[in-house]
Symmetry: none
Subunit: 215 residues, 4 copies
DNA sequence: CATGAATGAGTATTCATTCAT
DNA sequence: GATGAATGAATACTCATTCAT
């Protein structure tokens, strides 16, 4: 009925699809589901997209580009020392992790292993070099002491993403603080940074939970 | 066809299904595939199992039990110190990882999130307490210094599984050694163990790659 | 509901499909049409056939074999002179024409031209050599005088099939007789046979229309 | 877009459709294809035509009229004897055959049998009476001896169209000559014309293949 | 226990046609 | 006249599940 601008409809489809993929996964989301959610006819989907597969590719591409540019943006800031830079990257990573859940899940599926580019790796491939550069910078600045910077970077990334999984769905303030402290502690140990030097995670806490001066 | 004992038939189905799930994934394995592999009629499947889903649950349960008892076995050994115990557990974990690839893959798929029991978590939930106990033991034995033992255990598990992803498909001897050294280095740092004290990983190397005394 | 023997069901499908193809053509016959006619579920079709295309191939192959063996049978008879042999072949051809209408029509469609084996040609390829041999035999027996036996055979086939098209749907006795006489006349001319020597067509008339002795 | 006169737009559509039908067949040509070729919007098609089917009818009608007038033109020439007239008609037929391939193909499809007007018949119905008149004229002029002029005309038409099917896709000069000679031979026989009297086909050969005087 | 014929809801995709702008 | 977004019925095909034998 209501006629919309092509770009708007397109976005509607993408948004609906993204939601549904998130909710039920790509394979279990039918084109019928998508059009039903928008309340439009099935044919309209194919007016905008060549196939279901192609829609996924679009969403995917878009997400990867978002990730890439977010990382790039955080790395382009001038005049930051290693610790500050680490803070920037980790904040940006938190954001990515949140948004890319769906993609990651989809690409963990075996049908896509054939693509030889698991997005897990893809997203890793984007974060890893950035983090590695920071580790090297920190080593040079003598604030870190991390042999094998690439592996150190990897270890950081894995515990960051893994730890999140350990947290309960609805973490209490206490959970958050505990998560925070442990992340800081083990990050410092891996990077060989001075205890207490990585206040990064702390800054990501909501203000009311932050440690006050003198704590 | 030959009439088999119920339990034997059941096992045949489970075995065939396990193979096929491994080969082509759960979603891509049809009931037709399973009965074709066994050379029996389709109806027989539903004589033994209520649904395809239910068969998966069975297989799963079975696998989880295997994992559970493997972990339990490794923890029941008496008279080991924390470092020895850690070695046992890590070896057992490597084995688990290898065998549970399929399940893990399947449970990473979102349709199963509805089950609220991601196997990733499931298997974590089994490894974690064991590893946590070891960390505590090590703290008591003063060979480790790891506050937040549970989180330390988590961090260990994540870098173990994550690092593997960083390795190339066909790792060279050099890759293996590097993997080994970094695992040891960062494990020691996380656990607060003395440098060089965790020779665990080293022992998992093929003999020709092991460091000789004095290296 | 009612469970039938596989072979019987298969035949039912083939028969229904053959009818429907005849009625509405292959492209315009949907699998839904076929199962609806048999009053069975859609899935059953795919239990017996891999695809709609494959069913057509089956029907086709079967028909071509029928044609081939009919021609072969008519050519294997021993001790016939050219004129008798011609009679046999023409009778057999009439039968074929009748039965192969559907196939021919389907293969006239362009999608199949890609197959480079228009069945028109296919059926021609089967009739032509047989007829050509007869023409040569007739030439040798001095009852025919037809240079270019292959082309003479072709010309015969074309006017036989063409003339039929000229006839009204429900030919009167008079139409039949006229058709008969002209076929005889022009066949004789093409083959260079003596006027009145080819009584073949006459024999195909229903008895009450046949010329009585002395006509 | 530029606003065109209605009649011009109509013609554009007809032309584009004709091309596409020729290229890919009627069924495989979508309205989308047609408007895409013209670079106009889909709705415009339905502004000019009630349906795709109706467009085909239009094209068809148009083609049939072309054929009709071509035949009429060839028959209106004054002062030709039967043999000359035959030549004219055959040349015109060759032209028709060439241009109407698509239509013929389409109308051979059974969906159109419902229309009860196979174009094969349609075009026959147009050629046949013209040829029949020529045969009668030839009979009167004593250059032909063909009883049943209508059927003789039919036989001629069938072998003309049929023989073409016997020729290879890319006929050699030799093929062409052979085709020529046989067409002449069997045409003369059917019409009861003196051997060598029908040089019509010969004249349609490319000049370098024509028989020189005294051959 | 075992068979395999039968079911039917579900899937992605196509396309002639309509209609608000 | 012209646009292009929107429709919806149709199509071939899949597969977990049922059930008569």
């Amino acid at each position: 009925m209501a006629v919309k601008r092509a770009s708007e409809r397109r976005s509607d489809f993408v948004a609906a699809a993204r939601d549904l993929f998130e909710e039920k996964g790509f394979e279990n989301t039918s084109v019928d589901d998508i059009v039903a959610r928008l309340g439009v006819a099935k044919g309209l989907f194919y007016y905008y997209f060549d196939s279901k597969e192609m829609l996924l590719d679009l969403i995917l591409e878009h997400m990867l580009m978002e990730i890439e540019s977010a990382i790039a943006a955080s790395m382009e800031k001038k005049g930051l020392n290693a610790i500050e830079r680490l803070g920037e990257l980790i904040k940006c990573g938190a954001d990515i992790t949140f948004r890319s859940r769906t993609i990651i899940r989809y690409f963990q599926k075996e049908r896509n292993r054939s693509l030889h580019l698991s997005i897990e790796k893809k997203s890793l491939e984007m974060m890893l070099p950035a983090l590695e550069r920071i580790v090297r910078q920190g080593n040079e600045e003598k604030v870190f002491d991390a042999p094998y910077p690439r592996e150190a970077a990897g270890a950081m990334l894995f515990i960051i993403s893994g730890m999140r999984a350990l947290m309960p769905e609805d973490p209490s303030a206490e959970d958050m603080l505990r998560y925070n402290k442990t992340m800081q502690l083990y990050s410092e140990r891996i990077l060989g940074a001075a205890p207490g030097s990585l206040r990064v995670y702390e800054e990501m806490l909501p203000p009311e939970l932050r440690r006050r001066k003198g704590d």
